[in-house]
């Protein structure tokens, strides 16, 4: 293996490959920073570009865009509550609050370093454990997905904020939003009112940009006469020792969650970042502080979405089946070059596989070097007065949301959710459960219908398959844990 890896480095370190790796990660960072355009659109745009390259160089570049975007995505989340990528929505919760308390530098710094650690660990995982993980991944059928999503849903509770009732109402609202569009199996339209854009469901990007960034902008406009509060407080640009101590475990746990969750085709970085955030909050000694701007809330999701990039490569490189939209594009690029990724890829083209692995190590180092010096530059953006910042956010958000499908209706949806988000904020409803439920509902419903179709409408399918049963038990524990904890303390105090 060492020999293979060294050969891989030899290939990845040639001038051309280094250059395209650098180009890829740079483009990725930019794509990550801009809202709307995600790694999928970014890699697709550059496909014609790769026709002249050899396949190894092409994938080195495309993979660079993919994981590069995960680095960039956190920037606008932290600075202006504008998720640059769907997988960075969770970063808004604590990242933006940290920025508001003058700690944008630390948040940006930990997200770059966390991303680096997670990215590197996930390449390590990809290198050492790819075939067994792929074997595990194919055992994940619809019933297992349903149980995983059920577990995810129980975590909504951990995002509710101050009021349990308001949080659950927000979650229910999200579930409702998630049912808009065509029924996944029968194709029957629901709540689409003849608007073609709604047939595929509400776009997650439009809703999250509206709920997070626009509602914030509206609120800023309301208080725009006040000067920005954080003018001179960007003193500590990098995470301090205390930050490190608190972040290191969330980074490691986030990496593990992100890596394993994304090996399973179809779930991906966004779900991974949510699971990581919710898990951190669940096991934290001070869960009430999440959402007020603590560094664990940034470290966990940002590590998870980076670790997801390594995991997502596993189905593609080992099985020859793309597990995510970005992987599908890479597969397309490979086919164009006459290289058919499949179960024999490792045997037939070991040089290719190892060069990609090596380039991912190199790319992550490049990204760290590229991103850390920017922390200061970005953090200073917070000095921009509201009168300039508000129109800037509005126009960037609109353009970003429009670009996803070149569809103006998406911009209206974003604006509508901006207004909804503004009032939710006024009345103390948290936006995070809406987003989590909106993401999980379609996945969960889809898996439910597939499972029931498989079992001829018999729900025992969720409890007779071992992996599914284990996940269901976890979901049960997660749901009942507050009650158990309450009873436990009661028993102890009475005895």
């Amino acid at each position: 293996m060492i020999e293979h890896l060294l050969n891989g480095f030899a290939t990845a370190l040639t001038f051309t490959n280094l250059l395209y790796c650098f180009f890829g990660v740079t483009m990725g960072t930019i794509i990550g920073v801009l809202p709307g355009i995600g790694p999928v659109a970014g890699t697709a745009m550059l496909i014609p570009f790769t026709f002249g390259m050899n396949p190894t160089t092409a994938i080195i570049m495309l993979a660079g865009i993919y994981y590069g975007a995960m680095y960039g995505g956190s920037t606008t989340s932290i600075l202006v509550n504008l998720p640059g990528e769907s997988s960075s929505v969770m970063t808004c919760l604590d990242g933006y609050q940290m920025g508001q308390h003058g700690r944008a530098g630390a948040a940006l710094g930990i997200s770059a370093i966390g991303s680096f650690i997670a990215g590197t660990l996930s390449v390590l995982g990809l290198m050492l454990r790819a075939p067994p993980l792929a074997a595990l991944a194919i055992r994940f059928g619809p019933p297992e997905y349903f149980s995983l999503m059920a577990l995810g849903m129980t975590l909504v509770i951990s995002l509710v904020g101050d009021s349990l009732v308001k949080g659950l109402i927000a979650g229910a609202f999200g579930i409702f939003l998630g049912t808009i569009g065509m029924d996944p199996t029968t194709g029957i339209e629901r709540f689409s009112y003849g608007i073609p854009t709604l047939l595929d469901g509400l776009s997650f990007v439009s809703v999250s940009v509206g709920l997070f960034a626009l509602s914030e902008v509206f609120e800023m406009a309301e208080y725009s006469t006040k000067a920005p509060v954080y003018v001179d407080k960007i003193s500590n640009l990098l995470p301090n020792r205390e930050d490190w101590k608190r972040s290191i475990m969330p980074i490691l746990r986030g990496s593990a969650i992100g890596f394993f969750a994304s090996c399973m085709p179809g779930s991906g970085a966004t779900v991974a970042s949510m699971l990581a955030y919710a898990t951190e909050k669940k096991i934290s000694k001070h869960p009430e502080k999440f959402g007020t701007g603590i560094i664990e809330g940034v470290a966990a999701p940002e590590s998870a979405n980076n670790a997801a990039t390594g995991g997502a490569m596993i189905p593609l490189l080992v099985l020859g089946v793309p597990g995510s939209a970005t992987a599908a594009i890479m597969m397309g690029a490979l086919l164009v070059h006459g290289m058919r990724p499949g179960p024999l890829l490792l045997e037939k083209h070991p040089d290719f596989f190892w060069a990609i692995i090596a380039s991912m190590y190199i790319g992550n180092v490049m990204l760290l070097i590229l991103n850390l010096p920017f922390v200061g530059v970005w953090a200073r953006m917070l000095k921009i007065p509201h009168a300039i910042l508000i129109p800037l956010i509005l126009s960037i958000s609109s353009v970003g949301v429009f670009t996803v499908n070149n569809n103006l209706i998406e911009v209206w949806i974003m604006l509508l959710f901006g207004v909804i988000g503004y009032f939710m904020k006024k009345f103390g409803f948290p936006p995070a459960p809406v987003i989590l439920a909106l993401i999980l509902t379609p996945l969960m419903e889809n898996a439910l219908q597939q499972s029931l179709q498989m079992s001829h409408q018999d729900i025992s399918i969720f409890f007779t398959r071992p992996i599914s049963l284990a996940l269901m038990c976890l979901a049960g524990v997660s749901l009942l844990s507050p009650l158990l904890r309450y009873l436990w303390t009661k028993v102890r105090s009475s005895s």
Partner: protein, 325 residues
Amino acid sequence: MKRTEHLLTAFVTALSFLLIAPADSPAQSPLTKPVEFVCHAAAGGGSDIQARFIQSVIEKEKLCSQPVAVVNRAGGGGAIAFAYVAGKKGDPHVWLTATTSFLTTPLLGKSKYTYKDFTPVTNLAFDDFLVTVRADAPWKTMKDLVEDAKKRPGQIKTGGTYAPGTDALIDHLIGKEAGIKFNYIPFKSGGEAMIALLGGNIDMFYPNPGEALAQMEAKKVRILGVASAKRLEGAPDIPTLKELGYNVSMQQLRSIAAPKDLSPAALKYLEEVFKKVANSAVWKEKYIKENMLTWDYKTSAETQKLWEQNNEFCAKTMKEMGVIK
């Protein structure tokens, strides 16, 4: 701030690369501005890759007087793209990727624009469907499968893309021809269905050759037949379903459409452009052969006929399936 500028420069340079126009232009081109090549599916899918490949062929071989940019307008089973292009009447600067969903989406009532609201430009290829089972499946031939399915109706799990995609139609047609019934599980993409097949969550599915070949080489799957009239050039060992006695022949179209009411000169020009694409060595070698598609080139009139036939066939099959009235 200096570094930000560098980044910006890099980004702008990259963008401008994407917009580079072919230098020389044939004299009598009716095109006066860049072409918007609308893809009805999201970035990364089969249609998107095809559109971007065509774009690159046109760009490299300088086949068109104006630059071509691929724009994804995905959503609603193609309905969003269809509505957009149909609204550009008479404009030769808007092209559209058209696969079988171009026919089935309007048939399902999800788009009010049917194929009659467009100008057919060409059909560039056909994509086939392979009847695929896992390599360790008990069925060695189509006959084994059918006999087993007769013994336990509705127990063999098949899969494919959302009903009623083309593969769902094939599933229905095989069932009808053989007098059996499968349990069809819909998936979001061919990739997810393939993973379900490999993991044993479904027993059979209908990938395109491009999706199945790698698994075949690795002996992970067995192909029982191909649902087309002729055997595949790249895999002549696979029998057609017709040879096996099941009259199921259906292929995915890979057509190009343009808005209605094009001037004859404009249509002629577009036909010429795509004829050159179809006959270029890159297209034949890198796209058709690598993806094991069946090469095709049809004129506008021939494409019109192809669409009519396919539309009639899809309508009939979907009525049988009970998805439309």
